[in-house]
């Protein structure tokens, strides 16, 4: 992965929040993922195949998801199902948008959603993973990109 790759994902993420919520998300200082888990309440994982292989996932808090669901659906009482679903949808949108840069050889899977902080998400060992902290309103999330 190079700087341009990372910027594509960052831009895609920032754009998502801006479009959906009208409010900017701020990206923090990215870092390399070590052995420690980077997992919050819900994580949406997308597998990437084709010319580039790897995966990306977004992990975030229930509160943030509920906030976004409230904006999309005018519903302040989003259920667990909605919140889980939204996680996958966010991950799907971020990675799908990156295709604008990479083209159709950048193939994305359907999202897999993981609930709970207990589990770590196992990433390909031989590929470096970059963690991008994201702050939207007062909520913290992480975008983790692991791409050849």
């Amino acid at each position: 992965m190079n700087e341009t790759d990372l910027h594509f994902f960052i831009d895609s993420t920032v754009n998502y929040f801006e479009e959906i919520t009208g409010e900017q998300a701020i990206t923090g200082i990215p870092y390399l993922k070590g052995r420690e888990p980077v997992v919050l309440d819900y994580s949406g994982i997308i597998g990437i195949s084709g010319k580039r292989k790897g995966c990306i996932y977004i992990t975030t808090t229930k509160e943030m998801l509920k906030n976004i669901a409230a904006i999309i659906l005018d519903d302040n009482e989003a259920t667990v199902e909605t919140v889980k679903d939204l996680t996958g949808e966010i991950a799907n949108t971020i990675s799908g948008n990156v295709r604008e840069a990479y083209g159709s050889s950048f193939m994305i899977s359907v999202p897999v959603v993981i609930e709970g902080r207990a589990k770590d998400i196992r990433l390909p060992e031989e590929v470096q993973a970059f963690v991008i902290p994201i702050t939207w309103k007062e909520f913290k999330s992480y975008l983790v990109v692991c791409l050849e």
Binding site: E19, E81, T82, D85, E89, I94, N97
Partner: protein
């Protein structure tokens, strides 16, 4: 402007719409936003296989269609739908932002292409355009 759109839809009668997206949130969002147009949601599907079944059974006038889905992807579903009913109006709503996918969808017969993330306004504008309401 919105009132004009609504009254036009009324005059034309309710439009039968099938909403296809593997995200429940997106299906709900589309349904919520398009209700203003006096459409009748005849079904919602979270995967391509169910989408085709509903399409055959419910005979919708309009379909909103995601591409990245389990079972059958949206492009395959679109191809099949076009074989069944050539004049159905399909709006592809997808996160896949590359031009090739969009152009392929149009080539296969989709009438509109909307990229996620979308705002309510964008969805309504795209829908109005597709229906010839503005």
């Amino acid at each position: 402007m919105q009132d004009e759109i609504k009254s036009e839809a009324n005059m034309q009668g309710k439009v039968k719409i099938l909403i296809v997206d593997d995200s429940m949130t997106i299906r709900q969002a589309i349904e919520k936003n398009l209700k203003e147009f006096q459409v009748e949601v005849v079904g919602t599907a979270g995967d391509g296989k169910t989408a085709l079944e509903l399409f055959k059974n419910e005979d919708p006038d309009v379909v909103t269609l995601d591409i990245t889905m389990p079972e059958l992807d949206g492009i395959t579903v679109l191809e099949e739908m076009m074989k069944i009913k050539r004049d159905v109006k399909v709006m592809v709503i997808t996160a896949l932002k590359d031009k090739a996918t969009g152009l392929r969808a149009i080539q296969l017969g989709a009438k509109s292409y909307l990229v996620k993330p979308f705002t309510s306004e964008k969805l309504k504008t795209a829908f109005s355009r597709m229906m010839g309401l503005n």
